[in-house]
């Protein structure tokens, strides 16, 4: 599971939607590629690598949902309000499983609801008759309907209260272990990601800025911005301390600062940061990448950004299934 974190407006959702070519006008994808390395879980389905940006509409439709499913933040708005949950499962299965008879589609939808802890009777319900948590469960069940390889979870629990949030996350983790899909988990809640994700990527002003194994990123950030983000969470125990936060406010995306977009708020900004945009590059000797001039050449790395990587049990590196790059 890859976590994607960043402030509101940093482009997390835009990135995810762009990867599925779901952006709406006036948004436009000018260049780059989104490579989908297909490794069918059940053995059927397309194999090999597809560039989703270059794929034809029919190929794209094949991949959408059957290989990559999306769960959005607000399930209330994700479900069509005028048809029943069952009808929405039916629409989906009828298109992607053309040979499946109607009764089988219905029972399959029932099984899926059962899998997320809902009663199959709920197929007859309309979205407005369900609670927020139930709607999100129904949406997750729908996302699982075609056994996708990738789930894009765009703040799937943000609109829910904390108890339901916890339940749904545990449900999701259980399902992931059982079904073996890869997930892209988008949230602004970095501490949640530390618990859930194998790897975390941090975005700022529309760019990927740091990418590292979850524990490394949490305990030993290399990017000043990540460091600032982590300092925003008050410790639950220990003595009271003044919260630092990040000075300033997120930049106006129409008028980005020159060079590194973070330099006006960065306590360690160098002269170079004002002029050139750093690229996301691996730091030698570790499995992590960062886009920061402080880690370049012979720049002096501040002590806060040079903590030693925590010794974690060598977790199995997740195979990269989706790869976004800008040309």
């Amino acid at each position: 599971m890859l976590g994607l974190a960043g402030e509101s407006g940093s482009g997390k959702t835009t990135l995810a939607l762009a990867a599925m070519r779901l952006l709406r006008a006036p948004a436009l994808i000018t260049s780059g590629e989104v490579l989908f390395h297909s490794r069918p879980i059940g053995g059927d389905g397309p194999k090999g690598t597809v560039d989703l940006l270059a794929a034809g509409l029919d190929d794209l439709r094949e991949v959408r949902w059957s290989e990559i499913a999306v769960v959005l933040q607000s399930a209330l708005n994700s479900l069509n309000p005028v048809t029943t949950i069952g009808a929405q499962f039916d629409d989906l299965l009828r298109v992607h499983r053309p040979g499946m008879p109607g009764s089988e589609r219905w029972s399959r939808a029932g099984e899926l609801l059962d899998m997320v802890g809902m009663n199959a009777d709920r197929l007859r319900s309309y979205p407005h008759e369900l609670s927020g948590g139930m709607r999100q469960r129904a949406m997750i069940a729908m996302a699982l309907a075609l056994e996708p390889q990738i789930m894009i979870l765009d703040e799937p629990t943000t609109a829910l209260d904390v108890v339901t949030q916890r339940e749904i996350l545990e449900e999701l983790m259980g399902l992931r272990d059982r079904l073996g899909f890869a997930a892209l988990f988008i949230t602004h809640d970095l501490s949640l990601l530390v618990e859930l994700a194998d790897e975390i990527a941090v975005m700022y002003a529309g760019r990927l800025m740091e990418r590292a194994p979850a524990a490394s990123l949490f305990h030993a950030p290399r990017l000043p911005y990540t460091h600032g983000l982590l300092n925003c969470f008050p410790p639950m125990h220990g003595k009271r301390a003044r919260m630092e936060g990040i000075p300033g406010s997120p930049p106006d995306l129409r008028d980005l600062p020159s060079g590194c977009a973070f330099h006006p708020r960065c306590p360690w900004a160098l002269e170079k940061c004002k002029q050139a945009i750093p690229r996301l590059e691996p730091i030698s000797g570790s499995g992590r990448e960062v886009a920061c001039w402080l880690h370049h050449d012979d720049a002096k790395v501040p002590a806060e950004l040079a903590k030693a990587d925590p010794r974690t049990e060598p977790r199995q590196r997740v195979p990269t299934l989706i790869q976004v790059s800008k040309k």
Binding site: L22, E62, W65, S66, V70, N77, V82, M139, M142
Partner: protein, 330 residues
């Protein structure tokens, strides 16, 4: 069910108000209908007291009774379907209206259905294709929406009508050819009715469809930004299913606003009938007004009101069927 019953109550109240207004109106306007009728009768001889009394009774204007008693009598007559007697046609108003009504209802029904369905389809498509050539339709739609019905009717008569001066393609006077055919289930009569309906129907459709196109387009564009349409796309559903998701939801506010639209269309239709001398209820309303036939005017007014209210009730029922959320409240 509860919500529908409540709506029904509102409509009954509205009907009662309309009936009361149509009772009071001829009694408060200057120019007493009885005096007018007495003056007409006097032209063919002296109208004595008995004659005046007879006229008062015929018109339901018994000045010797209190307004309240007249009102009670009026409501009682209405309940029996008795709308009074028209002096200009010398026939009961009820049966006269029954003979006018089919012309109006058929023309109105077909024109409204075509314009609503056509408007929905066109509106949805130009919303889906927004930012392309389809946007060129919008100024035309706005133009047609702004055109008054009668003006469009006159232009169509002038350009396409046989009573016009240019192309003379279509019939543009009366509901059928009153010289060559007689009413009945004959091929020539039915053909004639169709031929005569083309221009008036086109007028109503052109003038009312633009409003539907614009409102559906705007609604679909708003709905397309909803997450469930995005999710429908992400699900890999075919484009027509995705459009249907959006259109089905966009339809709801349009149906809710149908009540306003139908009143406008009925108002427009009255003028269109006058332009085409179409033998429906609007033309006869105009005719009765010019002859100061108050009973007929009153009767037509009552019937138009009831028809509009019935159409509104129908729209409400359709809305409840379309929207499960309204069903729950119902």
């Amino acid at each position: 069910m509860g919500a529908l019953l409540r709506r029904l109550g509102v409509y009954i109240l509205a009907a009662w108000v309309a009936l009361t207004v149509s009772f009071l109106l001829p009694r408060v306007v200057p120019g007493n209908p009885v005096a007018g009728a007495v003056a007409r009768a006097s032209q063919s001889g002296n109208c004595n007291a008995g004659c005046i009394k007879a006229i008062e009774e015929q018109l339901g204007f018994d000045v010797h009774k209190s307004l309240w008693d007249q009102y009670v009598q009026y409501l009682g007559n209405l309940a029996h379907g008795d709308l009074g007697h028209s002096w200009s046609e010398n026939a009961p108003v009820g049966s006269l209206i029954l003979s006018y009504l089919p012309w109006t209802l058929v023309l109105l029904g077909i024109a409204t259905t075509v314009s609503f369905l056509g408007g929905s389809v066109v509106g949805t498509l130009i919303a889906w294709r927004r930012g392309t050539w389809a946007d060129w339709l919008i100024p035309f739609a706005t133009f047609f929406q702004a055109l008054p019905y009668f003006f469009l009717g006159i232009v169509l008569v002038l350009v396409f009508g046989q009573t016009g001066t240019m192309l003379k393609w279509f019939q543009s006077l009366f509901g059928y050819d009153i010289y060559a055919t007689t009413p009945g289930f004959t091929v020539s009569y039915v053909e004639s009715v169709f031929g005569h309906a083309i221009l008036p129907a086109t007028t109503v459709i052109l003038a009312s469809m633009a409003g539907f196109i614009l409102s559906i387009r705007n609604q679909v564009i708003t709905t397309m930004d909803e997450d469930f349409v995005l999710v429908a796309q992400a699900k890999g559903l075919p484009t027509r299913t995705v459009i249907w998701y959006a259109a089905r939801n966009a339809l709801l506010p349009v149906v809710a606003n149908f009540t306003i639209a139908i009143s406008l269309i009925v108002g427009g239709q009255i003028l269109v009938e006058i332009v085409f001398n179409y033998p429906g209820i609007g033309f006869h309303l105009y005719d009765a007004l010019s002859k100061l036939d108050y009973t007929l005017v009153q009767g037509i007014f009552v019937v138009i009101t009831l028809v509009v209210l019935a159409a509104n009730l129908l729209a409400d029922v359709v809305y409840v069927m379309l929207d499960p959320r309204a069903r729950q409240a119902a």
